[in-house]
């Protein structure tokens, strides 16, 4: 450790402390304060503290938006992460096959989705999913007649499927590269030994390779689950969280961040209830905070296990 004057230490920390306090901490505290009031756009001059009323309304109202929105988000996270893993694993195993020729070309072709800015990819996919002029429905019509085609962006499950596909397209290259790296560190001797013992390809994969991959994959799964839970950009750019099935229900792909945004800046909200939405934000913060600390605690012993 270095010995330094208090003033020096303070000077080094000052930019960090000032920025974090003003731009990270203050907004959190202000949001918490808002959540205890009855602040809306129309009473911004004479709002007052009302205690925990917003939280009560958020959590204990029958058919509260909170549970619908969190449920949709968790479903999205579960499906996306499972597909990242399956598609990424399959691609990595295919590329790891020593008999494949032209490895470099395949690899680059599969990595390209990663190079496009994700916001542009989302908007391009929105174009591809267009009900009338999009190529996906054009191809469907080519094979199944002029009346075929899926109303991707106007049907609830159509949009849900679309945002899953786009997210898989965006993220599987990352999983592929991580798994490929882990695969290459699996010692060949183990597979050879299992082969000699009479294990077939599938058994070797499930019993020998997979257990050795988990330590590398677990942190990536946790990380991507948390990012997908907080996903805003891709989903919003594709359909703004829609489609809406009724006026007083959140849209079908209103995942947590999109719900938050739409209730503050959305075109359909005449009188944003800032206080109520602040309570929603604080509940989310508690969930995300616990997840962060939990994943920190989980990641440590796992990595030690991986080294043994």
């Amino acid at each position: 450790m270095l010995k330094a004057k208090r003033a020096t230490i303070f000077l080094y920390l000052l930019p960090l402390i000032a920025t974090i306090t003003l731009i990270n901490l203050w907004p959190i505290l202000y949001t918490f304060y808002l959540s205890l009031t009855n602040y809306t756009l129309f009473n911004s001059d004479n709002y007052k503290l009302i205690g925990l009323g917003n939280y009560q309304k958020l959590i204990f109202t029958a058919n509260s938006d909170l549970f619908f929105v969190i449920g949709q988000t968790l479903l999205y996270v579960a499906i996306c992460v499972a597909l990242f893993l399956i598609v990424g694993m399959a691609s990595a195993l295919a590329l790891n096959n020593p008999k494949i020729k032209g490895l470099a070309i395949w690899r680059v072709a599969l990595l390209v989705p990663y190079a496009v800015p994700s916001a542009i990819s989302a908007l391009v996919w929105k174009f591809l999913f267009n009900d009338d002029f999009g190529p996906i429905n054009q191809i469907t019509r080519l094979f199944f007649g002029p009346n075929a085609g899926v109303p991707w962006l106007s049907a609830p499950w159509g949009t849900f499927t679309a945002v899953v596909i786009v997210n898989v397209w965006l993220t599987y290259p990352f999983f592929m590269v991580v798994i490929l790296g882990a695969l290459q560190s699996v010692p060949q001797e183990l597979n050879e030994a299992a082969r000699v013992d009479g294990a077939n390809g599938l058994q070797r994969l499930v019993r020998v390779t997979f257990p050795l991959l988990w330590p590398a994959i677990t942190p990536v799964i946790i990380l991507s689950a948390i990012t997908t839970f907080q996903m805003f950009n891709t989903v919003y750019l594709i359909n703004k969280g829609g489609p809406y099935t009724s006026a007083d229900k959140p849209g079908f792909t209103n995942f947590v961040m999109i719900y938050e945004y739409n209730n503050i800046l959305g075109a359909n909200v005449a009188n944003p209830h800032y206080a109520f939405i602040a309570a929603f934000a604080i509940v989310l913060f508690i969930i995300l905070g616990s997840l962060t600390f939990l994943s920190q605690a989980l990641a440590r012993p796992r990595s030690r296990e991986g080294m043994a």
Partner: protein, 317 residues
């Protein structure tokens, strides 16, 4: 692990002993049949692998191919319900329109400016902060580290009204600096943790030796440790640069489009092109290609540097 290997080698001895016991003729026929079968099976397996790879390449590249061909289709050619693999009369009209009628260069310039400034400020603030957290012991250090972690769990998007109020008070609404401030704050925690972790791996004796020779702490910080943390700086810089790259919500909160839209980032600009009813898909496609192509080329150039790890890639949003 070693146990497994020993077990495996003993059983392979048993197998070879068994093979020796059989007649030579019989063994040869057996081997012939099994290699034949294995070759057919593995040939079939290999074909399946190739088939899968081709499907994945189509999945990966189709959007890119489609948007490129759409950018070359002129006028109303895209408003058809039939599929066209190639544009009937390819033309550069959309590109000419994008460069002359749309502020696409301003969008790219604004985005670069915001991301570069975010990276520069974020690096300076997190380098000094991380250095202090790693090298000095002071009251509240542990608490500060825990607080950083907690703050990180709060996405800026959850506090839109607070940010609006804050930037309004500072006079930074509709100002790129306002956006730079928010993005910087969002990247500081990651940068700090990342750099602190790296500083922790450097022996403090390096600086102690320099200080014995008469260097001040600041000289030790800049001339001794800074050159040694460049790998961590590079990783943090990429993360910081990409933090605002694709961002829509906060940019939309802070920036209000002017008459031509020349004060926007490219995400806002492109999204604005997609009207709710009639989108000029051709212009949109041309703009997307103009922005993406340099980035794809850059990516193809640097991707060989992260052949297996790609841990720095984990930061893409």
């Amino acid at each position: 692990m070693s146990e497994q290997i020993i077990k495996a080698s003993t059983s392979s001895e048993a197998v070879s002993a068994g093979a020796l016991a059989g007649t030579r003729q019989h063994a040869r026929e057996d081997v012939h049949v099994t290699t034949m079968r294995r070759r057919v099976v593995s040939g079939f397996g290999l074909a399946l692998v190739y088939l899968f790879l081709i499907a994945m390449v189509i999945f990966s590249l189709f959007p890119i191919y489609y948007v490129v061909q759409a950018s070359l289709a002129g006028g109303q050619n895209l408003y058809t319900t039939d599929l066209h693999i190639l544009p009937a009369q390819p033309t550069f009209d959309n590109y000419i329109y994008a460069f002359t009628q749309l502020p696409i260069l301003a969008w790219i310039g604004n985005t670069f400016l915001i991301c570069t400034a975010t990276t520069a400020i974020g690096l300076i603030f997190s380098l000094t902060g991380a250095y202090a957290l790693s090298r000095f012991r002071f009251q509240g250090r542990e608490m500060g580290l825990g607080l950083l972690l907690a703050v990180q769990a709060f996405p800026a998007l959850l506090a839109l009204p607070a940010y609006y109020l804050l930037l309004n008070a500072l006079g930074l609404i509709n100002n790129l600096i306002g956006l730079i401030l928010i993005y910087t704050a969002g990247t500081l925690v990651f940068g700090c943790w990342n750099l602190k972790g790296y500083y922790d791996t450097l022996p403090v004796e390096l600086e102690q030796a320099a200080m014995l020779d008469g260097a001040s702490i600041t000289q030790a910080f800049i001339r001794v440790t800074l050159p040694l943390v460049t790998p961590a700086i590079a990783a943090s810089a990429i993360f910081m640069f990409l933090a605002g790259w694709n961002e829509y919500a906060l940019a939309n909160l802070v920036l209000n489009s002017n008459a031509t839209g020349s004060n926007l980032t490219f995400v806002l600009g492109l999204f604005g092109l997609q009207g709710d009813f009639r989108t000029p898909w051709g212009y949109f496609a041309a703009c997307s290609v103009i922005i993406s192509v340099p980035l794809i080329l850059l990516f193809l150039y640097i991707q060989r540097f992260f052949q297996s790890g790609l841990t720095i890639g984990g930061v893409k949003g």
